[in-house]
Symmetry: C2
Subunit: 325 residues, 2 copies
Amino acid sequence: MEQYAIGIDIGGTTIKGAMVARTGRYRERIVVPTASARSGTELFDRILEIIASLIERKERTDDLCGVGIGTPGFVDQHGTIIGNAVNLPEWQGTNLYEPVMKRFGLRTVAANDATAMTLAEARFGAGRGVLNLVCMSLGTGIGGGIVSGGRLYQGVRGMAGEFGHVSIDPQGILCGCGQKGCVEQYASATGIVHRAQELCAAGAVEETGFVRMVRTAGEYLTAKQVYDFVNNGDPVALKVNEYVCDNLSRAIGIIISILAPDRVVLGGGVMMAGRVIIDTVLHRLPHYCLMDILKQCDIRAAELGEDAGVIGAGSLVFEGETHNG
Amino acid sequence: MEQYAIGIDIGGTTIKGAMVARTGRYRERIVVPTASARSGTELFDRILEIIASLIERKERTDDLCGVGIGTPGFVDQHGTIIGNAVNLPEWQGTNLYEPVMKRFGLRTVAANDATAMTLAEARFGAGRGVLNLVCMSLGTGIGGGIVSGGRLYQGVRGMAGEFGHVSIDPQGILCGCGQKGCVEQYASATGIVHRAQELCAAGAVEETGFVRMVRTAGEYLTAKQVYDFVNNGDPVALKVNEYVCDNLSRAIGIIISILAPDRVVLGGGVMMAGRVIIDTVLHRLPHYCLMDILKQCDIRAAELGEDAGVIGAGSLVFEGETHNG
């Protein structure tokens, strides 16, 4: 009998649900917009509906081991959301475990969404078989996760892996967290868009197709649009990429010096840009890392794409004790 | 029957040996100057002599479980020194395990010296009972170690915890490793001395007792002398301390954002300065770290003093499999 867990991935734009097997295969994928939930309670009701709907579609339930939830913010050992999940302000204080147990009799395990993505890549993706793994998710923000000796390292209250707030410049851009120079301000989708806009607003830049596109797009500019021009070799877009990847490399260099992982996996929406980010980072990293350590480490793109989060969320259930404290 | 291991701590100045019990107690401490060994072979002969001498002094040897060595540089899984141990250039390539086994029939476990110190503080010192621990050693250089879920996290080839090479400023001071802004250039004993000399050489500084002392001491200035004046409230010395601790706090903030430890322990010779470093760091840290994570973490001084290295080295033997890769 194959064992299943329900995986729920709460993103800023959508909530995803799926029935995830112990092998990492998944089916019955459900996607619901997050924005339609106006409060923490409404958001959680939406999640309970997804769980109910997934259970309903299943012929048997004796092979169902529990519910795994990947969420923005942090989760304490009792399943309560702690800290501020930036895009979901009312989410803080919500307990995820009790209501699921009460309604469905299912054990719930929750973790930060980037931790869930890390677990998926570690078990079934680009980090398969790697003992010491760092996974960095470049999305709207930047998150991450750590695997140490084959197991998730989550730190106190699951808070480890906040790679987006590694400061790479004490005089750098002010971040919403109050620090200066957080790498999230440079290499997240939001950061990339802002840096592109800034560069194109500066008068001295030559008038390329990219510059015209950025000015036309205005506030609707996306990181994908920027990287379409990077991949077409637009000289100004290439400058944006150099700047983004140089700063990203600083952060990766620091993370490598601290953790000495066998592998760093880069994932998240920004990585849909293809090889160019990895290639530029590989070129810059030797400036920002101890060479003895860097030589032992390789850098790869994530393999599981946008469903890594939901696969990882389900997989949390099969990991046993995942919290370090 | 109490079990023992021989601990060997190789420092830039001295090699220490001791008989270390599983409980962390130790006796028969031997200290030999490192400088007298002119090559890697000579250094290793010195170590073998210490081991022989410790065994000789023991009435029985059936309670002797092995030899643990803490060394500058990195050690691979076969016991060979890899990478450049800055103060011991000829040490690279030396195999530590075979000769000890051959001559004494004893199993050897070696690790980076800061990793050994971390283990000692984790088991018997300021990190006792802490699940997720970061230990930072402020000495001639800056090293460190990580405990994850109660076990040493060493990363690939034991290379994790190179906190001294966390860059806190991309435009900062050039480090011997080739990077700019490594925190070692600011908050190690060497870094503190250089920053004090620079500040006092600048003409604009008022003429305090500290400034006169620094000018008189010239190249013989030590971090201890600097901190004696800090503790006496000399205004220029206090400025040096602010600068040192501000930069140290940046690195600690980055480490905390990445690892979310329950506790950070600061040790090494520089910490002989007393409370002032911890107090200044606690004051600066909120600027350089996610508050949600910082709130869960406390910062403490190491407890075991200068013998942490030798205690930790011996304790490596009792840790079972310590390498993560």
